[in-house]
Amino acid sequence: MLKIENLSVSHGAIRALHEISFNVEKGQLAAVIGANGAGKTTLLRTLSGLNKASHGLAQWNDHNILHAKPEALVRHGISHVSEGKSVIPELTVSENLELGALWRRNKKEAAKSKQEVVELFPRLGERLSQRADSLSGGERQMLAIGRSIMSKPELLLLDEPSLGLAPLVIEQIFQAIRDLTTAMGLTVLLVEQNAMGALKIADIGIVLNLGSIAATGSATALRDDPAVRAAYLGF
């Protein structure tokens, strides 16, 4: 379970997150929505070790995860796909994938993971030896997600996977995310500007506004909530 208690993060003098508290049960897909600058990316970056928290508590499976190095957290099953299609363009698709599994001792299991990724995203399988910069936007996002799967994640942090993608591709990606959450029993924090798409596949939702939690609840409840609809769903 992911437990967040009174988490606060500051960028210099600016409070990015203010006393955030929420829980995500194992196996749940939580959508984190909110306007730009609400602190969604900061939240993920703090949980993955890229940013430092000012105070508060964050636990994954009763492990304290604040103030740890990102590389260490990966070994505890936390995988963060950062904003902007975090693939390395100069490396091939295959190398990008293998990157995620380099830390794993068991090479056989790593190879199995690669199989799973290729099954989930066949397009990647076709392009294994191509450089990542020859991929389309959607394919890059698949690659980024694929690489995080290679890290044997238990908690998956996804930062705006739909950014800059065509609607059809977005649907595919979201479906893939839903599928692999269920298939692998992952716990997922899905940060999205595309609130509708995120809430459609999520179990629960968290609404952030200016660094604080504005609302939480089941995804369906939030979808029906008039205030949320007005602010984030556009109708």
């Binding site: 590389e71 990157l99 995620g100």
Partner: protein, 302 residues
Amino acid sequence: MFNFINTLLIGITAGSIYSLMAIAIVLVWRSTRVVNFAAGGLALASSFVGAAVLETTGSFWVALPLAMIAGALFSAFIEYFFLRPLLKRSGGKGEEIFLPIIATLGLLGIIKAILNYIYGDRVGSLPPPLSDKGFIVSGQSIALSPMRILILGTVLVLMAFLTLIFQRTNLGLSLRASSFAPEISRLAGIRVDLIRTVGWAISGAAGATAGILQTTNGSGSIAPESFEFSLLLVFGFVAAVIGGIESLIGAVVGGLTLGIVLAIILMYVGGSLVFFAAFLILILVLLLRPHGIIGVKGGRRA
């Protein structure tokens, strides 16, 4: 005709040594975004180690690897104790590049001062292990000697080795990934800090080899204020810039280009213009390709 071939051979030999030094500089640049002037000092120190080993064991073939190991250790030491704290502190635009560069210059000065103190007037001796008498071809001695072949061979082997590591091993993948995109690599579980130290270690070993080869190709003796080492440092850096400081291939291309052109100038124009010629080559290349011959616009992304 012979003259020209000889000039080429001399140039390629010298150039390949500059390439090694350039590789040392490029490795550090790519992994840390710092121009490591201290690399010259480390090469010097490692060469002294080599000379000492040679004196004790009498074998060049033991001295070279040990010097490389020394170079690797020195370099890793510097990365860990000097660079890491330095990078934590330097911030702000503009100073980003300047301060670390000037800090490595300061380090170079300190290394030289220490070596001067330890060795003073004494000189380390690294005579070439193989004959440097040229082979005789149709009655004329050409500039290809066993020693030259050794130098060229060593550089070739090292480059092949490095390419192998970088392209085909997990370590190489980590090295490449960490230098292209450190943040993404961290999120993939790569111990980027450790990898960076390894990168510096490899750089140190390359520099040590360059230092030893430069000495054996030259006067055979090392002194802290040795002209050959100033040459190595300056030309190594210039070679890296000519080739494009973002790529290892660039380092090789830059080194060979510099070596050959300088040899030609040396032969046909005269000695004292060599340095100015180096400057001209550099500025000409950069005018046409501001990022070096193999100009990769490169740079890191998160």
